[in-house]
Symmetry: C2
Subunit: 339 residues, 2 copies
């Protein structure tokens, strides 16, 4: 099943979207918003599934689906936790900053809480006041959770995964260094994120979801040019249930928590850092990683961060080449504060 | 005006509480929940004020107010940002961990995002699975914000402050050290927080609120014994508008954001670290600070962290000794996961 939130007020209006992303049916009779559906998921799921089945078979009234009218599936969320499951990425980015990679990073997940009080839509502009802040994309795969009890077991953590989405977790690299040095995580470094137009239940993935990882490439484009296609299941040091258990060690997690696995990153075939797609590699999911590889190889980065007017596209296709989530497609624009 | 959320579902039921905390009137005709009121504050405020006036004059139907039936004013919140405005506290706690205090801590606010997807009630137990984690209270004063534009001016930041509350920001000290060393902030170190039964509009504070700081002592008790009474306006390196501006530098803040000033801490009269109340000092707002002072003076801490069965009380009185917010009153209990 595929769900979306059409733009409406602060929390959007819940709709069920057809598998081919061509049409939608209103779901507000089941739950007015995505958060309301997640708050009472066991009751909502059979009714939403019935709607989705009716939409596929043409039994239900429907309208054409336009991703440009979508908010992110959760237009605001009570929690957005992002783990760094691709330790390869963390190691490279730290190397670029001259920061050490503690040995425990390979055994104890790194995780931060990101901004989710204001979440922008999949086609909304990335508004930044100053491009000297080092604007970067981060393409990631994330899950949306139902309620998770404190001290959740692996079985409870797995069962709590209700939906899967992609995110562009925009990062301001030139603010990150000084902010992380303070030790309290990201506040100014992370402007609002955008998620894909639709969130998808795990059963839609067939054999590409094993209950813990998605075995498909994550596609990123900058100004229409292929930038990354690493496979989400490869080099994923910590799978989703492991990340959920880490987050729930000392507290419950509320329904509607978004949990990410961090910037997707694959090592190259020879075990070294990845090559650009133009060189036959799998590319990257953030510019920081490409710049790091350039620094390692040539002594300095040659790829700039994003500039005003640049566009970022992020999507994922199934084994038959059909778009699963629709696309995140955003332009970077200069922000001018209101008077 | 004083507002509370009676326990009801995930988001509580909004009520207006009398100034003396003795009675309440239902406010659900204005807004069903605190978040709904904050989402449309300019429309809700005059109607809630009218209800509050009617409650004070006895015109409105009312019921006895029982803080034990309260959720925290925001039973879940889209954002909880906590600044460390009392740099004195940060310096002492870092000293205890053997960590350095960068010079910029005195000019650039330290801020982290805490958990707010699950917020417990003011009289709910603090459920912890293992008391070896170093259970500590943190008594703080916080504000609740309306919408804040990205790049907010000081005037916009000041105007965005809609409500004031207190919080017990429980911290697991023995998890904090290793987690902060990873540089991504607190995830496992911070179990759910509890706030005071009522949230109060700034106008209620009269001369004790200057638009930036609250000029009253924050009272903490452990097992009924006075533990801390530092004054919130003293040694507050960064005031509330400064903290709001810091948080909003690169992004807007959504209505209902809770923003704290960190553990309240006053230096002693001689400029040294504070003394316990039993020694004629102003005491502390967290055990970590007391233990640090003990380490500085005697080479090691003598005060233990909280144990199962211990009680924490946090409150604030006005100049005439009347409780402003009601009390946070919590017992530390052992958590057993569900089967």
């Amino acid at each position: 099943m595929k769900l979306a939130s059409l733009k409406s007020g602060r929390d959007g209006r819940l709709v069920v979207v057809s598998r081919d992303l061509s049409r939608f049916a209103d779901a507000s009779a089941v739950a007015p918003t995505m958060q309301a559906a997640l708050d009472d998921w066991d009751a909502a799921l059979p009714r939403l599934t019935e709607l989705a089945d009716g939409l596929e078979s043409g039994r239900h009234a429907h309208q054409p689906f336009d991703p440009a009218k979508c908010a992110s599936p959760l237009p605001r969320a009570y929690q957005w936790l992002d783990g760094s499951a691709y330790v390869n990425h963390v190691a490279l980015v730290r190397q670029a900053r001259g920061a050490e990679v503690p040995e425990t990073f390979w055994t104890d997940p790194l995780m931060y809480q990101g901004i989710s009080d204001v979440v922008i839509g999949p086609h909304d502009p990335i508004q930044i006041a100053d491009d000297a802040w080092g604007i970067d994309l981060e393409a990631e795969i994330v899950v949306v959770l139902g309620d998770v009890p404190m001290g959740a077991t692996r079985a409870q953590a797995t069962k709590a995964i209700k939906l899967i989405m992609l995110v562009n977790d925009v990062t301001l690299r030139n603010i990150t260094g000084p902010e992380l040095a303070k030790g309290f995580g990201f506040v100014q470094s992370k402007p609002p994120s955008a998620y894909t137009p639709v969130a998808v239940t795990p059963d839609e993935f067939g054999k590409s979801w094993d209950g813990a990882k998605v075995d498909l490439p994550l596609l990123s484009f900058i100004n229409g040019k292929p930038f990354g296609k690493p496979v989400c299941s490869i080099d994923m040091t910590f799978d989703f249930p492991t990340l959920v258990m880490h987050a729930a060690k000392t507290r419950p997690l509320g329904a509607g928590t978004i949990l990410g696995a961090g910037t997707v990153s694959n090592r190259d075939d020879d075990g070294g850092p990845g090559r650009p797609i133009s060189d036959g590699g799998l590319g990257y999911s953030c510019l920081a990683e490409q710049r790091t590889v350039e620094t390692i190889l040539h002594g300095k980065p040659s790829t700039p961060f994003l500039k005003f007017g640049d566009r970022v596209r992020i999507e994922m296709n199934d084994k038959d080449g059909r778009s699963i989530f629709g696309t995140i497609d955003q332009e970077v624009v200069r922000y001018t504060p209101p008077k």
